[in-house]
């Protein structure tokens, strides 16, 4: 058995997930972790698949259904394990008027201050004429949370709203 990462992207429509996962199940695949969402009217699937056969066989297995739904398919053979989650210890929310370079600025400053990003979601909201950018990041503060907090001051001075919240996971 080997892990593959499937990426499928195409115009959003109903039944994409059901049809893809049915084809994989019938082909003898096991599914692992996945992230799937609608982005700008497209649907994007990232899916870990465990399969005994080769990449070519897996491609063959899924191509017909991918084509029937006009999804672009990409398969990588990956070195992967389940049960390897890293626990985030900080969440960072950012919003501001949408402008060029906001993501690069924020993530650049955070990377410099030791943030390892585990999860990032962002959206452009507002209207065509005055778009706003909203981003939510979770990660691990490898050089401590105070380090991140002080690094964010430079971002705030540029009129971008940033809120940092420690994640203290309760185990009971």
């Amino acid at each position: 058995m080997h892990w593959y990462m499937l990426t499928l992207i195409g115009k959003d429509r109903p039944r994409i997930v059901a049809q893809i996962t049915a084809a994989l199940f019938e082909g003898g695949c096991n599914l692992g972790e996945a992230s799937m969402l609608r982005l700008g009217g497209n649907f994007a699937v990232m899916l870990m698949v465990k399969f005994a056969g080769s990449k070519a066989t897996l491609t063959h297995l899924i191509t017909a259904v991918a084509e029937s739904m006009e999804l672009h398919l990409h398969i990588d053979s990956i070195d992967a394990k389940l049960h390897q989650h890293m626990l985030p210890d900080v969440s960072i929310s950012v919003y501001g008027a949408d402008r060029a370079g906001i993501v690069a600025k924020v993530t650049g400053v955070l990377a410099e201050a030791g943030l390892h990003i585990l999860d990032l979601e962002s959206d452009v909201a507002g209207t065509e004429t005055s778009p706003i950018y909203v981003m939510h990041i979770e990660g691990k503060a490898q050089q401590g949370i105070p380090n991140l907090e002080s690094a964010l001051d430079s971002i705030r001075q540029q009129g971008i709203e940033v809120r940092l919240t420690p994640i203290d996971t309760l185990v009971g």
Binding site: H85, S91, Y95, H136, I167, V171, G172
Partner: protein, 164 residues
Amino acid sequence: MALLPVLTFPDPRLKERSNPVEVFDAELQSFIADLEQTLRSSPGGVGIAAPQVGRLQRIVIVDVSGKPNIQHHGRLILINPEIDSWEGMVKGREGCMSVPDFTGNVIRADSITLRAHDVLGQPRQYDMRGYEARAVQHECDHLDGLLFLDRLVSRRHDLFPRKK
């Protein structure tokens, strides 16, 4: 004393409702000592409920005193706990010894009032808030066969989780 094996989901006992304790005897004391030792041996654990070790009785231990800068009552042994009132709503991240390798957001009351018996069967009453109140709500859920998985809320749209 002995370490007790912790059940993990999908063990069906974790979904069952536990029964009230009626006899406060030496056997109960001895079980509680074992339960506490089991909690202490779990890294980062701040609470444990008897059904997590397969004993379907309404017994909970909570101790959040290791967390810095929070209000707490120290080591709490709560028998037949009843939450009488809830106030405020706060979202927080939870995990569980019975659900390895997964954490998620759960909304809990910010402050609660609680009645329980102690190890000798004496009635006690507590007002608690924040992290300790969250831990007690998590453990009391175990007594009703509920896991934090039953209360998950999305991690998305997380922008303004306001405290009340």
